[in-house]
Each structure stands twice: as structure tokens, then as C-alpha cells.
Amino acid sequence: MAVKDFIRERFFPHIWCPGCGHGIVLNSLLRAVESLGMSKNEIVMVSGIGCSSRISGYLDFHTLHTIHGRALAFATGVKLSRPELNLIVPMGDGDALAIGGNHFIHAARRNIDLTAIVMNNRIYGMTGGQFSPLSGCGVMATTAPFATVDAGFDVVELARAAGATFVARSTAYHVQQLTKLLRDAILHEGFSVVEVLTQCPTYFGRRNKMGGAVEMLKWFKENTTPVGSKAKAENPALIERGIFVQKEMPEYCKAYDQVIERAQKGKK
């Protein structure tokens, strides 16, 4: 199936600004899904609120565009009631880890089989460039005209600590790697997290004098390195890309089915 067969052309043009990284993530995601040969009827995409969350409406899956921060909670309801479906949950950084931070750590703790994609542009783009919990310290934003003073989350470390059984990171520049990571995440049985560093030239780039989309993509190229590389040892400021956690643990829906079985023993 061609990538374009996954798109609802009726709903275009999309809302994203020129140079936005979300379209690159969308492209990578569709190539990952295509390579898996899954039926569109088996895929449910659940998203929250924000630029990144509009991704669901453009795709020809079962799509649920919900409320701010709660996509993983809605997705949990879908998955628990129909465990055979594949759940993909694209979120922005504010959506996933500010208002939605609680649902994020609890979904990870349960190890429910959802694929969470954190499209991290370090800013609230849709609402005008407010700083997010992933902006990090010393970042300029509409709501931080003299730079932020609060530290950011490290998505990878947070997901790992909360119990996610697949954790990976890539960027909008490294599309081949991103496609492979998204594919692995979808195939993984359990809670998987893929953080994608993506550019918002409109707000983050402009406010922080990072140049346009091309310069921001170059920044991803120059400031990231594969996990465990020699470059990282020499320059600890580099951001690592790749798979950080990949392990087998009991999956929540399966464990829950066993509870039902135990509870109904001898009653049917």
C-alpha cells in the first residue's frame, strides 16, 4: 500500500506552519506502518490537543482526537476493551508531559501495549509559544521573555524510571532511524515511548534565534549522536539517539485477562 493511501486527503491542507517538523514525523510514521503491512482497520490513533495532535485527523485509521493531556487515558480505554487493536498515541511535549504527565507515568508503570510518540519541539506552538516542561533552562518563550529558569524533563529517563519497556529517541532530521524506531515501538509488546526532537521554527526557532527550519534540522544533526558513541564520551552535551530500553515484561491487558479468568473460574 502506498503511503498516500493512509492519508485523508479530504481533510487537507493541514494546519502546520511552513518548516514545521510534524509533517516529517507523520511521513516516518506512515512508512513504519506501511512496512509492517498492518490493516488500517487494526490501527487506532488517539491524540490530545496541540499542533502535533492534529496528526490523527489526517490519517485513515480509527482516529480519536481528544482533550488536552488525556490521550493516553482514552487510549487505555480503547486498548483494554479491544486488546487486539494497535494503539498509536502521538502527543506534543506539553500535552504528554505537562498536563498529561500523570497519565504518561501511569501508562508506563502498567506496561499497557500502547505506542506513545512524544513530538518534542520544546514549546506550545498552537497557543503562541509558551514554554513547556521540555523547554529546559535558559530558553526564550512568549511566557519567558527573560528566559526560563526551570529545568526540563528528560523524556527518556522519565519513561525509563516510570517503567516503560521500550524507550527510544530520534529527531526530525534522522528520518531513516526514526522510521525504524517507530516500527520497533509499534511491534513492541508493552508500553513504548519514542521521543522525536522536532522543530518549531515559528516560535521556538524565532524566539531563540536558531534560524529557520533548515538551520534547526542542522542543529539536530550536529548536536545528537548514537547511543553509547565515542562522541558522547568526549562531549557530554550531545543528545543521544537510538534505543535506550527494550525489555520483556508482562503486558497489562494480558495480565488483566488472567484476572478475569481467575475470577470466573468455576462460574461458567
Partner: protein, 328 residues
Amino acid sequence: MEDEIASMCAIIGASLTGHKVMTATSGPGFSLKQEALGYAVMAEIPCVVVNVQRGGPSTGNPTHVAQGDVMQARWGTHGDHAIVTLTASNHQDVFAMTVEAFNIAETYRTPVILLFDEVVGHMREKLVIPEPGEIPLVERLRTSVPGGVDYHPYLPREDGRLPMSDFGGVHRYNVTGLFHDMWGFPSDNPGVVHGLMRHLVDKIENNAGQLARYKEFELQDADTVLVSYGSAARSALHVVRNRRARGEKIGLLELQTLWPFPAAVVREKCARARSVVVVEMNTGQVMREVKAAVNNPENVFLANRIDGTLITPTDIRNILRLIQGRGV
């Protein structure tokens, strides 16, 4: 789930796969559910939300009785909308109203709130569980459009109903909390917004008569009508039985549907009454609705209690004595 917000969201997700769903909470948890409740209104997702009322606002008076959430049930989520809310005064009716709530949720594609209170929630009493089939069950209306043919998830039929298609089935469509067109795709077109708002409100408000559930006791010749609901109605019924035994013309209208407010029923049942006393455990949330419904609002009085204890027959009798000019 991790909190009340998450459980409200999860049941909406589960409902979309074709299951009947509910969540239950009390007081603050009901406040937390409000945003997602509005989502279920907007996206027309059948679901049932139980709120066993306790004293509020805030943490308030946990495990003590109150009926202060009547207006929150009506207007708790932001934005103009319609909602269905049922209540009950005893366990047999809690059972019946819960089944009703699911039937209404499926029929009208709406969240239905079951607004009980602490007394009904904590007490123990006899319950006869009916045989399967004794109470009619409404199953979800599903589309007959075959796979491969365009299915419009938000295009109402002539009767206003919207057949659904389960997530995971042959029809893939978009569900959103934004105003949306017949495809379920976001739209801010004024015509689309107006049409959807009218649809969401009219499908409930235009059926207020069909949604009205109530019980009546000794209303045939009553010149004093008590209007009550939930556990307060138990004390009201006690007063009616005692006073009838002494020859007083007094009756009780027990409301089981609170929203849409059964104004026509209240107006009709109170038409001959010289005084109407609303018995409730708040500062008059239903009383104001009753005043708006009846022909003579100056004859509507309030017998209430707001201290976390069940209103007693004596409390109601004291108000009746005041109205009748007999002093306390």
C-alpha cells in the same frame, strides 16, 4: 485508572469500541470528570457517570449526605449543552434507574449522569434483582452502511439519531471534541457550528417529556404537594403517609429525572396545590426550577437541610406548620 479524569476518558475510549460503559465517583471526583464529560456530549459518546453526592464545595463533608451537585450535573462542563440526569431514593430504584441510564445513553448518544446521594449510597436495604428480560434493554444503534461505502458518523438520520460504528470495525472515522462536520472533521464554519449546537441541545430538550421519570404518592386531591428526590424523598414520603392518616390532603411528587427538568410534569402535578414544598438538601437548586415551572411561584417553599445530616420528617413538618400559620 490513576485518577477520576483518566477513568472518565477511558470509558469514552471503551464506549467507542462498542461496549456499554460507566464510571462512579463522589464530590471532587465529579468536578474532575467535567471536561471529559463535555467531550462525551460533543462527540456524542454513550456513557454513564455516577456521582454519589456528599457535602461540598471542595473536600467538603465526605461520607455525609448532601444534594448540592444538581446544578453541577446540569452545567458542570463548560459551554452550552444539554444533559440527562437521573436520581433515585431507594435501592430498587437505583437498580432501575441505572438500567434506564444505559438505555437513554444508547438511545440518544449522550452521557447520562446518575446523581445519587450518600444516604442511598451507604444504606442497606432489600433489592429484588429482576430476571433478565424483565426490564427492556436498549442496544446500540449501529450503521447498516457496508464497508467500502462512505459512512458519515455525524450525519443524523431523519429521526435525529446517529447510527454508530465500532472502532476496530470496517468504518474508519474521526472523533473530536471540536465542532465538527458530518465526517467528524473539525469545522468552525458558522453554519456547521450552529447546526451541531442545535442538534446536541434539541435531541435532549425536545424529548424532555419522554425522558421524564417520576413517582407520585397521594397527589389526586392534594392541596399541599411535596416535591423531592433522592434520600430526601424518603423523609417526604414519611410525612405524607403520617399526615394522610390524619386526614390531611398532602401528596408527594418524587422526581427521578432531574435534567432535562420535567417542568411540564411539575406544572401539571402542582396545578391544584395551594402550597408546594420542595424538600432537598441544598440551598434550593431544584426549588428554583420548580418556581420557574409552576403557575404560582409565590406558593413554592423550601424545606431543606445543609448540615450533612438527612433531612427529617420533623424538619419538613416544621416548614408545613410555618406555611399553614401554625408556628413552629
